[in-house]
Symmetry: C2
Subunit: 368 residues, 2 copies
């Protein structure tokens, strides 16, 4: 199964599952179906990174190539529902206007409220709808995963030995992923408020991306797949080293694209990260390295909702002039090398090894 094939399978699992939930919601009231439509719309986009890492973590640990929507594909697909929940809640928390170039769900539901002339505050209605849609996705994520695991047990575990222990280990990785992602999100909210207990902004920003991105996007999905296949401790350690290194590189690339990326390609207005005042590693490096003028320019510009293109350009000049951009690119290159090295010594079954090596490029050389 190649990447495009996996994406189709994942989409198929999600479509079938959400059609089941449509029936559950319709039995409550057709008035609730817009929530499901919004979730389906959100799930159409996306790079499917987490399902990919989960699936290749499984294959690399010797899990067989599924012939149908088998346990590995379903567990991988369930991670997209968790991700949908994280995006929905994140956009409410960040008061973001757009997601993948379209209005964020809370904004779309606020607009629906406004257009229909409903009572009360449209923003409050939009926030409520998006919080509830996220809550539904959190429940569904777990429902899909739990059901896949139960059926895997009932099926005798696909011929792999030790199904109960594998299922137990899979749940533990999954549970850890959820708690650590939410903890990482809080660290991020705290860092954006300047409320972190750490003194060094670069270290604080790196801690945030460790939990919010590296572990969540790559390490945990790999380990979920690995646990499902009963991977050895050595392979799990290699996956962790690969995942943490690549995950940091991935997020650093994201931070660079958030300021220097092409809006057409990223689907986000250039400089939105700056308008939100995100304390990225890139920004933290710049505030450390810039001269007094550059530092005060950063402090004045960051978090300004009305920051115009000229302002964005001035910040870009500081990020470049201070050497922060170059330093970030150096960090990306170093983590990319570390990720490749982690796979070198590990017993990763083909074709997963080749795919995981390719994903290093996909995740860090991208332009969107």
């Amino acid at each position: 199964m190649d990447a495009a094939h996996l994406r189709r399978r994942v989409q198929g699992v999600l479509d079938a599952f959400l059609e089941e939930q449509r029936a559950v919601l319709a039995a409550v009231s057709v008035d609730t179906l817009p929530l499901l439509d919004a979730v389906q719309d959100l799930l159409v986009g996306g790079k499917r990174l987490r399902p990919a890492f989960c699936f290749w973590g499984w294959r690399g640990a010797g899990g067989p190539d599924p012939v149908a929507a088998d346990v590995a594909v379903r567990v991988a697909a369930s991670l997209e529902l968790f991700q949908a929940a994280a995006l929905l809640h994140d956009d409410v928390m960040d008061r973001s206007d757009t997601r993948r170039g379209r209005p964020a769900m809370h904004r779309a539901f606020a607009a629906r409220h406004r257009e229909r002339g409903w009572l009360g505050d449209p923003e409050q209605f939009g926030d409520g709808a998006a919080v509830l849609a996220g809550d539904l996705c959190l429940s569904w994520n777990d429902e899909l995963l739990s059901r896949a695991l139960r059926e895997h047990l009932a099926d005798g575990g696909h011929g792999l030995p030790g199904a109960p222990a594998r299922v137990e280990a899979t749940r533990r990785e999954f549970d850890r992923m959820r708690t650590e992602l939410m903890a990482g999100q809080y660290l991020d909210v705290l860092a954006q408020s300047g409320g972190s207990s750490g003194d060094d902004p670069v270290a604080v920003a790196r801690e945030v991306i460790r939990f919010k991105s590296a572990k969540y996007t790559i390490e945990h999905p790999l380990l979920v797949g690995a646990a499902l296949a009963g991977a050895s401790p050595a392979l799990r350690a290699a996956y962790s080293a690969y995942g943490l290194a690549l995950g940091e590189a991935f997020q650093l690339r994201d931070d660079v694209l958030g300021v220097f990326g092409d809006p057409e390609a990223t689907g986000k207005p250039a400089g939105d990260d700056l308008r939100e005042g995100k304390r990225t590693v890139l920004v933290a490096l710049a505030s450390r390295a810039a001269d007094a003028r550059g530092r005060s320019l950063l402090e004045e510009h960051l978090g300004r909702r009305d920051l115009d293109e000229d302002g964005v350009q001035r910040v870009r000049d500081v990020l470049r002039g201070s050497g922060a951009l170059e330093e970030t690119e150096r960090m990306i290159a170093s983590q990319v090398a570390a990720a490749r090295r982690a796979l070198d010594g590990a017993q990763v079954a083909e074709p997963a090894r080749t795919v995981l090596l390719d994903l290093v490029g996909t995740a860090t050389e991208r332009t969107a």
Copy 2:
């Protein structure tokens, strides 16, 4: 095991589980521990209604009295974590100031932000923290439940037959509970905005409390416990009839207390439901029955954040004068009778039958 004993056992399960999660969060960063403290504070209060109905649903279907923190107690306790998530998110969505007489979590975290002079908008910080704490509770709810069910299977099912089928049925009830509660919450948000597709405000308000209260607080917890014990279809049907009737009565009592209750006893300022503009059955009955003057008084007063005690009193006069209060009390009495009747013909094992009959009184004759 009596009610007080059950409450202690449930608290013990929650305490032990949250201490485990404290270790997981502390390993991420001590900065995240205030989230856990807030959840623990929230979990100290509460009537523990859902665990009680879950537990007595189990006992009434022949589940043995647990000698330790066994599966029934742990599954019952897990429902409190779901409820904590619902409360945390509800308070953000409703922009509520207080919960059980203390500042709602999002307000407490906004105050923390303000006191420490952190960057950005204190309200946004508070909302973010409470959304994330709710997300953690949703994950933890499921983690605790799933683990209890896996260990139940591994233990051979406490000597009850058909453990895999019982676990499967328990999960299905639990999954349905989660989706239907969130759907019900959305129906509520929609009803408060006047956006429901139904024409009759009384019917709309009753539909909201059916899903948001009757099913969620009573029917689903009973059915989760019943499924775990392998209850017969006849018993499950009796539990449903009992749960839906008592649940509606319970919520109608809540609505009455929200306007006529003693703030000392309820822990909420009198009339807060009116200030939030809640379209309760009580209010919907009054707008239907009141004369033109009463109706316009209601429309003017409902949802006014600055409604003072005189204004609350004027609304009370309309609710009384229109006969809506009396009609609501009649509905409560009729549902109380229906709940008792549902148990009459059913094979509910003692002492569960007696306890469930007593709970009819506790839930509907209360003053807080």
